[in-house]
């Protein structure tokens, strides 16, 4: 869940990541054994238990295996020793070993079982995150400052503790929250933005330009050319877009550039129809006739005299066509046919759908990606409408 839900009156634990930098390190020598300890102090003032915790360490050592011990100092003064184990034997002279101890570790449950008598109610040592952070007389969170201390017993002066860390799995993280694999959704959304803009602008730009030239050529040349070109246009107009997009990406490929190309193939049809009808109007104007009498070539007339007249409309059309392209890509990604190497908003929603986010109530996974699609589309529609009402004087009156 996103962090800001705590502002709505909830008090859920935040995800807490502590690295070796946050630790108080002490080191003392006792009878040839060096004891290094990393203590992590943190305040835990939330209303519910953390979802889990994880303790990481890595050490470099030689022939004699060091031992590691983990203690938790609670605000009520109790001290739990939750873990004690020796590191695995080293393979060669200098072996760097790193490991992660999860809260589900059996050793933690075993050592916590010894403290069950401290509690006045039945506790479950197999969920240590609840037992460690609860009152001894009632099943409620004990608020206050906790210390998690990792102690390493090193038996060789050359042995060192390289790194350690603690992750306290919270229930809220970041401004948008995480998905079920604990990936930060905000990162996915940010990465999705340039991809969506790229697809939207490239597809609409290319499709509208192709449609513009196609339509103007058809309208200007007239007769047989017009008839033939418009027949081809009719064919494309009658093709169902999404099923064919599915076939294209199944058989040809799913790279983002290919998908952009596929969307262009189906995008130019509408613009071709509009620009043809406008070219028919402009064609009969006198300055075109004058240009033709001067002996200018058709290409020159089309690109110098007709298309510049239609440019304002073109820009409006590009802006209006952007949401369609973004929606097309999102639909394709949602069906599971997006580019697997790039995160897009559609893919986040696909993941949410296949993970059953709706039934599990994970609203923060569903709402933001769709909002992003909608807002991006809306922005371009508004730009397009504004441009359109400037360009299209007749429409403004209505």
């Amino acid at each position: 869940m996103p962090v800001w839900v705590n502002m709505l009156g909830l008090n859920l634990p935040e995800h807490l990541i502590m690295t070796a930098k946050d630790a108080d390190k002490t080191s003392l020598l006792e009878g040839g054994v060096r004891i290094e300890s990393h203590s992590y102090n943190f305040n835990f003032n939330y209303d519910s238990y953390p979802s889990d915790f994880m303790i990481m360490y890595s050490a470099r050592y030689g022939a004699i295996q060091p031992a590691v011990q983990i203690d938790v100092l609670r605000p009520d003064g109790n001290e739990f020793q939750i873990y004690f184990a020796s590191l695995p034997p080293s393979q060669n002279e200098s072996n760097e070993f790193s490991a992660r101890i999860f809260s589900t570790d059996r050793l933690i449950a075993d050592s916590l079982a010894g403290y069950s008598s401290l509690f006045t109610y039945r506790v479950d040592p197999t969920s240590p995150q609840a037992m460690i952070f609860s009152h001894t007389d009632e099943n409620k969170v004990l608020k206050g400052t906790y210390v998690i201390r990792n102690t390493f017993y090193l038996f060789d002066p050359r042995d060192t503790v390289v790194d350690s860390g603690v992750i306290l799995g919270g229930k809220v993280y970041g401004i948008i929250g995480t998905d079920d694999l604990r990936r930060d959704l905000a990162v996915g959304l940010l990465w999705g933005a340039p991809v969506a803009l790229f697809i939207g602008l490239t597809v609409s730009g290319a499709a509208v330009s192709i449609g513009l030239i196609y339509g103007v050529v058809a309208g200007y040349k007239g007769n047989r050319t017009d008839e033939g070109l418009m027949r081809i246009n009719d064919v494309f107009y009658s093709l169902p877009t999404l099923p064919l997009l599915v076939i294209l990406s199944v058989t040809i490929g799913r790279s983002i550039f290919l998908i952009t190309g596929f969307l262009v193939i189906f995008g130019w049809v509408g613009m071709a129809k509009i620009s043809r009808s406008l070219a028919l109007q402009i064609k009969s104007l006198q300055y075109i006739e004058a240009a033709r009498l001067m002996g200018q070539s058709d290409t020159r007339i089309i690109f110098k005299h007709i298309i510049p007249q239609l440019l304002p409309l073109t820009f409006a059309s590009i802006a209006i066509a952007v949401p369609g392209a973004i929606l097309g890509e999102a639909a394709l990604s949602f069906l599971g046919l997006g580019d697997p190497s790039i995160p897009t908003w559609g893919q986040i929603l696909h993941d949410a759908h296949s993970a059953g986010a709706m039934s599990r109530g994970l609203w923060w996974w569903i709402v933001p990606p769709g909002m992003m699609i909608a807002i991006t589309g809306l922005a371009f529609v508004l730009i397009g409408n504004a441009l359109d009402s400037i360009v299209n004087v007749r429409a403004r009156r209505m």
Partner: protein
């Protein structure tokens, strides 16, 4: 009716051309993949056959030779020795698609257990048609009335609300709204079922009612997202017509505004509106796949989603053929309707 007949012939010819070109396009896209699948299937069946037969081979080499020979024979028999674009195989494929012989699926089966792609698709098709005809009808009715209502009060508060909602809804992905609807009405407030697949058996007398109950949520979603832009389009055309001289003349003659609006203005706005129907049908049909996938409505869209999940290529190809067929037929029908409402088209 001579003109109308000529028009019909012309449009039908156009439809046939479109159908053929879609067919060729799809075949060009899937031909090589299809061939490979068929080849693998033949190979597997030959090996299977040899394993089950009583023939005793002296060594593995002899067995391999035998299998290779059988495979070659089979390939010749099916015609796989020629590429998909050779005239013989091409006409064969076209004929097969025309009688909807779409081959066998790899994983998916119909509810009766058939692996025939045609059976699978025909089983799902009525559901898709049911959902999308109903929603289109509802959207049309709401859109026409709202559009006329807004046009009558052009520039008013309600008109602005209408335009704004059209702009908003056009940039929402329908399937995402569907996800939100499921979240809100199925899991937060338990009003509608989350999965749109009814649980009662089709033979049960309550099946139709149950189906309708399960259809509500997808239906509401589609209507909610689409009616705004519909009303906007209707408004656009009706406002144009309300400014015409003959409407002013009618008003001067004392005909009530309501009658002018609903019987004169709407009727004259019908032809362009019908063109837009074709367009919106087009987009709703594409949307069908995703909307059905979200709701698990047991139609062609969900089938698409499943087939993509299993990469069941024969089913995907079959679905593409069938949906293209339906789509082109719809466009054809709207063309004819347009001509019926607007006699000018026939001459042009």
């Amino acid at each position: 009716m001579g003109d109308f007949g000529r028009f019909l012939v012309k449009r039908s010819l156009n439809m046939v051309i479109v159908l053929l070109s879609t067919l060729i396009l799809t075949m060009a896209l899937v031909g090589p993949t299809m061939d490979k699948i068929l080849l693998d299937a033949t190979r597997a069946s030959v090996v299977e056959e040899t394993n089950n037969s009583d023939i005793n081979f002296q060594n593995t080499e002899e067995r391999q030779n035998y299998i290779d020979q059988r495979i070659d024979l089979q390939i010749k028999a099916i015609g796989l020795d020629e590429p998909w674009y050779s005239p013989k195989r091409f006409t064969n494929t076209v004929l097969k698609v025309m009688v909807l012989d779409l081959g066998r699926s790899n994983y998916l089966t119909s509810e009766s257990g058939s692996a025939n792609v045609r059976d699978i698709i025909l089983e799902k098709m009525p559901k898709t048609i049911l959902l999308f005809t109903t929603s289109t009808l509802i959207i049309t009715v709401i859109g026409l009335y709202l559009g006329a209502f807004a046009a009558n009060r052009a520039g008013s508060f309600w008109d602005k609300i209408n335009s704004a909602s059209a702009v908003f809804s056009s940039s929402f992905p329908t399937w995402w709204v569907g996800m939100l609807m499921i979240f809100a009405f199925a899991f937060t407030y338990h009003i509608f079922p989350a999965r749109a697949t009814p649980l009662t058996a089709p033979s049960d007398p309550g099946y139709a009612l149950d189906l309708l109950y399960h259809m509500m949520l997808p239906l509401i979603t589609i209507v909610l997202v689409s009616f705004g832009s519909w009303a906007y389009i209707v408004r656009y055309f009706v406002v144009g017509i309300l400014g015409e001289d003959y409407i002013i003349a009618k008003r001067a003659a004392g005909i009530p505004q309501k009658k002018i609006l609903y019987s004169h203005a709407l009727k004259n706005a019908a032809p362009p509106i019908i063109t837009v129907v074709a367009l919106s049908l087009a987009s709703s049909f594409g949307g069908a796949i995703t909307v059905e996938a979200v709701f698990g409505w047991p139609g062609m869209g969900s089938l698409y989603y499943e087939a993509i999940g299993f990469m069941d290529i024969p089913v995907i190809i079959g679905l593409t053929y069938v949906s293209t067929l339906i789509f082109i037929f719809t466009v054809f029908l709207t063309d004819i309707l347009y001509a019926y409402f607007d006699p000018r088209v026939k001459i042009a």
